[in-house]
Each structure stands twice: as structure tokens, then as C-alpha cells.
């Protein structure tokens, strides 16, 4: 029989991933590896602190872990000096939209020629599931035990805001809540690197990623939560594609 699907062994080496069961980060890593192995050059990755940093050892390319929230500017500094390389920042929602929001925003303003993959799991996961900018209204976290309430504000539509900036050449939101969703993650990441290779500006892929552990659900419920709740607040799709205008 013909082999039709197989994960990249080097991504899984040496003992597989260290994420919780059902964590979407594994899917993102596999998607990223799949995309990169078809590319002529390996990108260099700047990985943020968070559960996301468990990706470090599995990345399909050179990696620098950076201080929490600021990997977008770190990546920009690198890219400014190495315009010939593909540079990719991988960040959690807490880092990208919270702690590092100023740096993320101005990376978009400047239209840095990099790719950012944002993992939106609705919590600060690595520290134990605290409120993040992306937590849905009403959702309980360890710092909002009664649920996200009005005084915490509603979830932040950061990608929608950034998409209004002309420095953002491409912005797409995808979701890990079905097989199709996972395929779209691959497609979106591939597209983002194409945009970068074309020098069109900043490309951002936001992935709605299940965190069964801190959502206090099983993996299947977590997928359903994305489909039924998260995606109504954070709709998936291409938010902006300025490469079309360019052509």
C-alpha cells in the first residue's frame, strides 16, 4: 500500500511532544513541519515563552527563544540584517496581545517582513491558565474564578485591528477544531511564508488552538468549544490579503 500520510520524524524526535493530551500546539508543530519540508529554505524561528516554548526543540529550523511577548521585534531585528532569510515568530496570545501588545502593534505598523504565528488558546496556559486578552466573556480562569466579567473587558479582536494597518500584508485566522481546520492551518502557514518571500509585508496567522487542560474539558469538548463559542467571537478566514492588491 502507498504511504499517504506520515508525520515528520525529526519533528517528533526524540520522544514526541510534551503538550497535554489534545493540545492544539502539536497540530501546529506538525503543520509547520509539513509546510517547511516543501520549502526551499528553512526559516529561522523566534519562539516566545509559554506552553509555546515546548515547541523549541522540535522546530524545523534554527530557533531562538525570546523574552515573553517580544519575539516579533526580536525577529524584526534579525530580518533587517538578514533579508534573504525567512524569519518566523511563534507567540502565544498572552505574549502577542497582552504583554507585548505594543511591540506587536508596531511590528505591524512598520510592516516588518516577517511571519508571525499566534497561538490563541484563550489563556496564559504555561503559568496555569490565567485570564488572557482572548478569554471569552464568562469563561472561568484561575485569575477570574467567577468568569471573565465586565470589569475585565471583553475579548480583544487584535487581529481585526492589526488587519486595518497597511503594513500587514496578510492576516488569516484558522482553527484547530476539525480535520479540515488542521489542513487550513497548513495552508495558511504556507501562504504566510509565500507572502514573506515576496517581500509584501508582515504576514500573520492566528490559530485558535484548544487547551483542554485549562479549559477544563476533554479534547473533544475543546474542539466543540472552538467551533461553537470561540469562532463566534473570533471568526476564521482571511482578514486581509494585500498581496492581491499589489499584483
Amino acid at each position: 500500500m502507498k504511504l499517504v500520510a506520515q508525520p515528520d520524524e525529526s519533528a517528533l524526535a526524540p520522544h514526541g511532544f510534551d503538550f497535554c493530551p489534545g493540545c492544539g500546539y502539536g497540530s501546529v508543530l506538525l503543520a509547520l513541519t509539513d509546510v517547511v519540508r516543501t520549502m526551499p529554505q528553512q526559516p529561522v524561528f523566534m519562539v516566545d515563552i509559554g506552553c509555546v516554548d515546548f515547541m523549541t526543540a522540535h522546530m524545523p529550523g534554527d530557533v531562538l527563544m525570546g523574552p515573553h511577548g517580544r519575539t516579533s521585534v526580536l525577529a524584526s531585528g534579525y530580518k533587517r540584517m538578514r533579508p534573504e532569510r525567512l524569519v518566523c515568530a511563534v507567540q502565544g496570545d498572552g505574549g502577542f496581545m497582552g504583554l507585548g501588545a505594543a511591540e506587536s502593534l508596531h511590528t505591524a505598523v512598520r510592516g516588518e517582513q516577517i511571519t508571525i504565528i499566534v497561538l490563541n488558546n484563550g489563556v496564559l496556559a504555561d503559568t496555569g491558565g490565567q485570564l488572557a486578552a482572548t478569554t471569552l466573556a464568562g469563561k472561568a480562569t484561575s485569575t477570574t474564578p467567577e468568569g471573565r466579567a465586565p470589569q475585565h473587558g471583553p475579548p480583544l479582536p487584535f487581529l481585526e485591528m492589526l488587519a486595518t494597518l497597511t503594513g500587514v500584508a496578510y492576516a488569516e485566522r484558522v482553527a484547530i477544531d476539525s480535520a479540515l481546520g488542521v489542513r487550513r492551518v497548513r495552508r495558511a502557514i504556507a501562504k504566510a511564508f509565500e507572502v514573506q518571500a515576496a517581500g509584501a509585508g508582515l504576514s500573520i496567522v492566528e490559530v485558535l488552538s484548544p487547551c483542554p487542560t485549562h479549559w477544563r474539558m476533554d479534547s473533544v469538548q475543546a474542539w466543540e468549544y472552538i467551533t461553537e463559542s470561540v469562532r463566534t467571537v473570533y471568526p476564521t478566514g482571511v482578514l486581509v490579503d494585500r498581496t492581491k492588491v499589489v499584483q
Binding site: D18, F19, C23, C51, D53, F54, A140, P145, T213, R216
Partner: protein
């Protein structure tokens, strides 16, 4: 017999080792002991290695980091090697029979007892409550906590959003407690807290 009883539970985070240890500490406190409890994690790993140190005494239990364990409860091969040597001579290793490689049990200066954790957990109605079985075993064998204290402790350590688990957990604790009463009556007698 030392005035301070010092025990360690090792395993993987996903097994709920920390909750067992916290339960034991809270319950011991409720029973009038002065416990100190401290967990060491393998860095950067979800569900990775964990070791929970628990010392208790009627008086000052001392420091959180120990190297003088009278009892080690091993639920997984991970970190077994790190803590097995820290058992004091004459101490007791109680281990999950399904998870510890028998060839690792090399010391002759201590006692070894196999716990049929999975079997008891399934018997108690919750295959994932092995950690609670273990807590019951330890509570009984050490004299750290009575059934009453364990019940009080349980309501303290289970987070509010998981309160529905309390009764299932208590059933598993009870299974371990009774098993130890029956099977381990004489093991560890020298160390038992009064």
C-alpha cells in the same frame, strides 16, 4: 524512631501525585500534626516528573527539601532513581506494581511493598483515581491522618470547579486505607506517627 516522619511521593504530573500529597498534608494538619509539604517538578514539561516531599511532626517538621525519607511511594519509573537512594535504611518503598520495573528494586536494607493501584482504583469505581488510592495507603500506614481528617482535607484540596469529584475520590482513598490496614499492618510499624 525519629520525631519527624519524612515521606516522598514520586511519579508523573498527570497521575495526580501532587493532589495526593496535598491531601495528606492538609489531613495531617487537621489531625494536629505540623506538616511541611513541597513539590519538585521536572522543568518545562506538561505532565512531567514530580516528587512531593512531606514531613510531619507533633513539633517542628524542619525544612521542605529532605534527604531522609522513611517512606517512598513510587508511582512511575521517572525520578525513581533520584529518590530511591534517599530512603533511610529500614525505610519502606511502596510502589505501583504496574509502573515500576521490578529490576530497579535493588536495595536490601529497606522493605518493598507492591500496591495494586490500578486494580484498586477500578474497584473503587474510578480508574483514574490511583493517586487517591495511594493517599489512602500512606495515610493508614503512617498514621498521618484519620478517615475524618481525610474527609476534611479533601474538601480543602479539591478546587471548587471540581467539587463533583469529591465523593469518587473519597471512595478511592477508603479503598487504599482499608487495603493497607489489612495488608500492611506490620510494615512500617516502627515509623508510624502516634
Amino acid at each position: 524512631m525519629s520525631e519527624v516522619l519524612s515521606i516522598v511521593l514520586t511519579g508523573r504530573g498527570g497521575q495526580g501525585v501532587k493532589l495526593s500529597s496535598e491531601l495528606l498534608a492538609w489531613s495531617a494538619s487537621a489531625d494536629g500534626y505540623n506538616p511541611i509539604q513541597y513539590s519538585v517538578y521536572g522543568a518545562l514539561i506538561r505532565g512531567g516528573e514530580i516528587a512531593c516531599s512531606l514531613a510531619a511532626s507533633r513539633e517542628d517538621p524542619g525544612v521542605p527539601l529532605r534527604s531522609d525519607y522513611a517512606l517512598m511511594c513510587a508511582m512511575h519509573n521517572d525520578w525513581f532513581d533520584r529518590y530511591y537512594p534517599l530512603l533511610v535504611p529500614g525505610g519502606l518503598l511502596a510502589y505501583d506494581v504496574a509502573n515500576i520495573t521490578p529490576s530497579s528494586l535493588t536495595r536490601s536494607d529497606i522493605e518493598h511493598v507492591a500496591i495494586p493501584v490500578a486494580e484498586m482504583a477500578i474497584g473503587a469505581g474510578d480508574p483514574r483515581a490511583g493517586n487517591m488510592v495511594v493517599a489512602g495507603v500512606v495515610a493508614n500506614v503512617t498514621g498521618l491522618a484519620s478517615r475524618d481528617a481525610l474527609e476534611k482535607g479533601m474538601t480543602e484540596v479539591v478546587p471548587a470547579h471540581r467539587a463533583d469529584r469529591i465523593s469518587r475520590n473519597l471512595a478511592a482513598v477508603e479503598t487504599g486505607y482499608t487495603w493497607a490496614e489489612r495488608e500492611l499492618r506490620d510494615s512500617f510499624a516502627a515509623w508510624r506517627l502516634q
